[in-house]
Symmetry: C2
Subunit: 406 residues, 2 copies
């Protein structure tokens, strides 16, 4: 009981500090905007009438820095009574988990900011996050993290009740950081979407943690909560300036920061499989993007929706290419997808009937195809509602449905 | 004996990894130079004939990143046999020390790079390093770090053999990070000096650690060695490009990185007083700069030596100002220092005899005053020799002289 009370007190302090952090983010962003613009860290909003306005980029750096400062100060709280009373043995293992989490997040913030400033090459973007998650895996190993998965009922006849997949599990966790980061990074481009989706995911994670707080791994979920609450508030502060019409862009700094935070809480909180359920739209967007990402069909530099000046709405953007640029099995698949209304694919265009047109394969464009042209602010809201609905689905999969299979 | 053997093996692996790191830094810097220049991270060398050439700035980032990668990979080595054999209790406390050190260094790298890109204000430069060293102080506290100082013999009659200064010691350690960083940062400006001095200091620290490795705190000194060796090699890699004539500048990224590394090894290695002995030239330079830093006399934006085209040598740079701009006690002090030949101070200049001239108060200018104009490469070499001599003095103060007083 006294432990539960101590946790509750820590969480309350965490919430108070996080709210102060929210205020700090909201106030700091306009104060440093000019500093960022002068440093060349700005972008132009392609989905607006005024395309020439310089909008400060990489503002995720403010969120991330405030998050780190909150966590540095908060560290004293859960371990405070150990500081005072040195009789009880100090929980070094738990302390190391906090430190590693902050180390990994700090590395990714640094990497993300470096990417914004320097435009890193793809090989760095894939290798460096993996390296950055190395200390995390070590701590997971040291603290006797399980690498056992529960086998679904239908397969138990062959595989038994549980299966220890050992090293494969570590590879999975190392990939998780890279996946979370890039999944958010490619589901982006309209005002408020990057931090909006991260807020919805983080809130879902927090709800999951609260539900599990009474379970048999309460400590892990408590740990996750302590990280995710300041993450939510520092993201909300950023969202305040990034929502339509954006006065600040989040930059790769933010997507890296958010991606690593999710990977960290999932790994140290020991729900590294469940967390993927909260990424359903991102996973769909990634799979939907595969033909363009892996150049099975030509991929333009920007896949943003197209801004329609006269309507002040966004329309799906189209890529045009020669039919001969695409292999015939891909064409067959595209025709099938077009029948299912999952893509807008037209053939026989151009003077000689050799050209095709295909919508750019992002979830944003697909929603525009299904719902028709939308105002940017409304589109973000709809996408965030979709994110919320899929979080509800995730809870349904995780609880009633999982009981059927496990 | 088996522990000593394990340490030796780890150190050998550390050295091998560090040498590989050196190669990586030497090869990466020219490869990424254009990326930095395109991002606007470049400077011009004011002490050269060709002042217009763009020289990539902030290359300390490459050193720092390589250092972090080496350390992430190296982490597996000292704890490797614990990974294999989980019977012996895992040394969580030592592991936490490594993690915090890397966390603090990573934070400072991030901060330094942010400073290079954004030109942070002074208040951030003083507050943020203090916050970044917070986890370090916590770990020091948790691991029962001593806050007791040995009282010199003459004072023991009043104060006793030892004195526990408690919180004051923590304040001292928090200031150490800020001091190390800024002390290196203001003793800079000519090719190769920033990383040259850091290499000399780090080598002195390493030698001190090796001497103490057989002492009663061998573990702390071993820890320090594991961090300082990759620091030395990644700095040497940078020095290779930064030495006269510089093909890369180190940036605040490097001075922050170096400063925090020294603070970290000194604090966790438990030689936070001794380390200051290796900063004698930096301390002198700081004290010598005080009149300009605190605006007792006017301070120009750049205090670099002046480049003499015809001789291709550097001369002390001069600041001119009205005598009335300076308070009379300051004038008295300046006249005294001029008599001691510590400054070049002239009065009664200008048409109406109201102007004064004073050399800019840096150790670099003082050396030029004493030795006469010098070629830039030779000046750096002389300053580094001076650094080496003061390290020898530091060892003399630490060993034979300290035995007299303690
Ligand atoms: Mg980028
Ligand atoms: Mg600067």
């Amino acid at each position: 009981v006294s432990l539960a009370k101590a946790m509750l007190v820590s969480l309350c302090i965490n919430i108070i500090m996080s709210v102060v952090g929210l205020g700090a983010v909201v106030r700091t962003i306009p104060a440093v905007a000019d500093m960022f613009i002068n440093a060349g860290l700005f972008g132009r909003d392609l989905c607006k009438k005024e395309r020439d306005k310089k909008i400060p980029e990489s503002m995720g750096m403010v969120s991330g820095s405030v998050f780190l400062i909150i966590m540095f100060l908060f560290l004293a709280v859960p371990f405070g009574h150990h500081f005072m009373n040195m009789q009880t043995p100090f929980p070094h293992a738990a302390f190391a988990e906090y430190l590693t989490s902050l180390l990994c997040i700090c590395c990714m913030l640094f990497l993300g900011f470096a990417d914004d400033v320097l435009n890193l090459k793809w090989r760095y973007k894939l290798v460096l996050p993996t390296l950055a998650s190395l200390p995390l895996l070590m701590v997971y190993y040291v603290n006797m993290g399980s690498t056992t998965i529960v086998v679904p009922k239908p397969l138990r006849v062959w595989l038994g009740l549980t299966l220890n997949i050992g090293p494969l599990y570590y590879i999975y966790m190392a990939m998780l950081a890279v996946f979370c980061t890039n999944a958010i990074n490619i589901y982006a481009g309209i005002n408020g979407l990057e931090c909006g989706q991260a807020i919805v995911i983080a809130t879902s994670v927090a709800m999951f943690n609260i539900v599990e707080l009474c379970g048999y791994q309460s400590k892990s979920h408590y740990f996750s909560l302590c990280l995710i609450i300041p993450f939510i508030t520092s993201s909300v502060g950023l969202f305040f300036h990034n929502r339509y019409p954006a006065k600040a862009f989040v930059g790769d700094t933010y997507t890296y920061f958010a991606g690593m935070t999710f990977a960290v809480v999932a790994i140290i909180g020991r729900f590294s499989k469940t967390v993927l359920l909260f990424f359903l739209p991102q996973i769909f967007n990634f799979l939907y993007s595969v033909p363009q990402l892996f150049r099975l069909v030509p991929c333009p530099r920007h896949r943003l929706p197209r801004y329609n000046h006269s309507m002040d709405k966004l329309e799906p953007s189209i890529a045009e290419f020669k039919a001969s640029a695409v292999r015939s099995p891909v064409l067959v698949v595209l025709r099938m997808l077009a029948k299912l209304r999952l893509v807008q694919f037209e053939e026989g265009l151009g003077e000689d009937g050799n050209m095709c047109s295909l919508n750019n394969l992002t979830l944003i464009n697909l929603i525009l195809l299904l719902l028709g042209p939308q105002h940017e602010g409304k589109l973000t809201r709809n996408l965030l509602i979709l994110q919320g609905i899929s979080s509800l689905m995730a809870f349904f999969i995780r609880y009633p449905l999982a009981d059927l299979f496990f």
